[in-house]
Amino acid sequence: MQTRANAPGKVLITGGYLVLEQQYAGLVLSSTARFHTSITAQQDAPICICVESPQYHNLNKYEYQQGGKLTNYGKHLYVENVLLFCMTLVEQVKGATALHAVHIKIEADNDFYSQRENVSKIYICNVVF
């Protein structure tokens, strides 16, 4: 059983600095570039969470312990805070029996990262018409 979700990046086209205050609006466009998350259920007994970032050749392993604890916490906060609070939410809302080990893969579309270096290697100049 695999679950996939993806979400876009953004470009703020008006309202920079203004948008920090509630009275002012910002016009934000969502990008075609998206982040993709895939989750596959695993059979392991402790609730192991394996997070793979293939583009970074990275694999991090965590364990969610009932009562709201995530082991190995501290090096990748953006991922780990989501794991901690969402797994806790699942346990609280659906009960501990709803939890199981998972393998998570996170991938980003190219546009989130500068391709200038790669482009220079292929083309003579950095401007592509």
């Binding site: 979400a7 876009p8 953004k10 920090l20 570039a33 982040f35 709201g68 939410l89």
Partner: protein, 190 residues
């Protein structure tokens, strides 16, 4: 490798929150409005916690809802739960979860009710007019947003914006917006 400033952390956070909540069947694959708002509030909380501060949240809102005209939520919404969460390191105590549940109104959202009085952000869905396309240049570096923001806020505090620059900017921004770019039925407090 340099990022292009498209909001990777907000997109990452949002896709991971959505995937986990769908995978463990807290929300449906085809989300209801209330379930979408649940993803939004949990993502805003997690993102602010990871950043160590409460930003305006337009990046997370765009990641959840798409292109829109956005007014931020009141900072006070997240202040208490974030203060509590910043003390805990890798743990979500029952007390902290209760605070998070109350702040994000989790039970209410799961009961398909969306209360706009506490989380008072607004978003009006937007599309570029026909014939317009957005191009972004890759300059192989980001801008140091936190320092830019603190400089502007410092100026504003000292200056009091007596030149009413912010009001002039708002007026100019609203001229750019064409009525037909907004979807008629989207939620707005404007």
């Amino acid at each position: 490798m340099n990022k292009t400033g498209l909001g990777s952390s907000a997109a990452l956070t949002t896709s991971l929150v959505a995937a986990l909540l769908v995978h463990f069947q807290v929300i449906q694959q085809v989300v209801t409005d209330a379930q979408k708002e649940l993803v939004h509030r949990i993502a805003q909380f997690c993102h602010c916690l990871s950043q160590g501060k409460i930003g305006s949240g337009f990046d997370v809102c765009a990641a959840v809802y798409g292109s829109c005209k956005y007014h931020r939520f009141n900072t006070s919404v997240l202040k208490s739960v974030l203060d509590m969460a910043m003390q805990s390191n890798g743990t979500c105590s029952n007390e902290l979860y209760v605070e998070l549940s109350k702040t994000c109104q989790i039970p209410m959202l799961l009961a398909e009710q969306v209360d706009h009085s506490v989380w008072d952000h607004s978003y009006k869905l937007f599309k570029l007019p026909p014939g317009f396309q957005l191009f972004v240049a890759d300059v192989d570096q980001g801008s140091n947003t936190p320092s830019l923001v603190s400089n502007v806020l410092k100026w504003k505090a000292q200056n009091g914006d007596s030149g009413k620059k912010f009001l002039r900017f708002t007026h100019s921004n609203s001229i750019l917006e064409l009525d037909r770019c907004f979807e008629p039925a989207s939620r707005s407090s404007i």
